[in-house]
């Protein structure tokens, strides 16, 4: 396991990456396109109107929604200038405006003067925030690369771990054939999202690919279609495959779920002993169903135990 950490990206790079999904136009401050973005936190304008919020940190991106710009339009000229001075601070790397019309002239001249790019976004707010924050968190947040398989099973993000040669890839293929989605085989890249979830994705170079001994490298997207793969998924459950050890005593009741720490976050873990003749993909799929039920508070062993205790009370001496 190792960690990678990008220190910054430029405004230009960000725009290049969101350009596929988002329609935008740079209307001012073009000289600042090389400004550095070093925080994956998107600044909302609260701090502009209240003094309660802390000030922006270096290398942050500011996003002003249409609603906010309407309030701005109604301000008195003096108040407008006061606010603009608060917007174009040197800490800000660029300003996104979500609106259809060009903003006030003063806005653009301030942007040019301070060399802070102002970008008008024509796509909806939600999509814009998603695209920007996805790219920023992907590149700027903490990264970790681990050995394992990431799958979307019944909508649950499942990270499958286990020593090499235990059959993780073969099981993943079996799960794909049962209709589940492959996110990444062998190498899983993890990063932390804005809301603290750990998102797993695949390295670009080997995305949708799998190595199956005897078949070589296969492309799952080409073989099974788009519905058999996914680009990223948050981790919700870890399944660890381990060699069945006759001498080891296994927990037969699994009264409560254990957890495992990945990137400083705890995740429920189910350990499955691997032995010849066990249909692992079925067990993994059922493990996910068990996990879903347990999250809703359903646990068969507790039910049986409860019935057993009642029977004992009623029938014992």
């Amino acid at each position: 396991m190792n960690r990678q950490h990008n220190i910054f990206i430029t405004v230009e790079e960000l725009l290049k990456h969101i350009g596929e999904k988002i329609e935008f136009e740079i209307i001012g401050g073009k000289k600042g396109l090389k400004n550095q973005i070093s925080s994956y936190h998107i600044l909302e304008p609260d701090y502009l109107v209240s003094n309660l919020r802390e000030k922006p940190k270096n290398g942050e991106v500011l996003l002003l929604s249409e609603r906010y710009m309407k309030i701005f339009e109604n301000f008195s000229p003096l108040k407008k200038i006061k606010l603009l001075k608060k917007i174009f601070l040197e800490e800000i790397s660029c300003v996104f405006l979500i609106q259809q019309n060009e903003p006030h002239k003063k806005f653009i001249s301030m942007a040019n003067y301070h060399k802070i790019p102002v970008i008008i976004i024509k796509s909806p707010l939600k999509e814009t925030i998603e695209a920007i924050s996805l790219y920023l968190t992907k590149t700027l947040s903490q990264h970790q690369r681990i050995h394992g398989v990431m799958m979307d099973i019944l909508g649950v993000g499942v990270l499958i771990l286990g020593d090499s040669g235990i059959g993780k890839s073969e099981n993943a293929l079996d799960l794909v054939m049962r209709g589940h989605r492959l996110i990444s085989d062998d190498i899983v890249d993890l990063y932390e999202s804005l809301n603290g979830e750990i998102i797993a994705t695949s390295p670009e170079l080997t995305r949708y690919h799998m190595e199956i001994r005897g078949l070589g490298i296969i492309n799952i997207k080409e073989l099974f279609g788009i519905s058999a793969t996914g680009d990223n998924k948050k981790i919700q459950l870890i399944i660890e495959l381990e060699i069945w050890d006759e001498k080891k005593e296994y927990d037969r009741l699994i009264w409560s779920m254990k957890t495992k720490k990945i990137m400083d976050k705890e995740f429920p873990i189910i350990k499955i002993p691997v032995a010849p003749g066990r249909n692992l993909s079925a067990i993994i799929e059922v493990a996910v169903r068990v996990f879903l039920l347990r999250q809703m508070g359903v646990n068969p062993i507790i039910d049986i135990d409860k019935r057993l205790r009642e029977w004992n009370i009623n029938n014992g001496e």
Binding site: M1, N2, R3, Q4, R145, H147, S164, G165, D185, D186, I187, P203, L205, T206, H209, M210, E211, I217
Partner: protein, 89 residues
Amino acid sequence: MIEKKLKIINKLGLHARASSKLVQTANRYTSKITIIYNNSEVNAKSLLGLLTLAAAKGSEIIIKAEGTDEDKAIKAIEKLIEKKFGEKE
């Protein structure tokens, strides 16, 4: 555990065929073998892992081996890289 820094000297770097030879070699040993390049650490027994490294000619990789046959494993991999994976250039 032993660690060794090695330089890739064949023209095409760690391309697909070279990577597969490295995987084959690593798989002959029971030790846990990992390769570190450019902030990324991958299992030397995993082909896809090696491919993601994209280590070109001239890049310096670190090989780590841990286990009973770690010495032999590192020596074998070192020899493979020195012999340019059996390639001409």
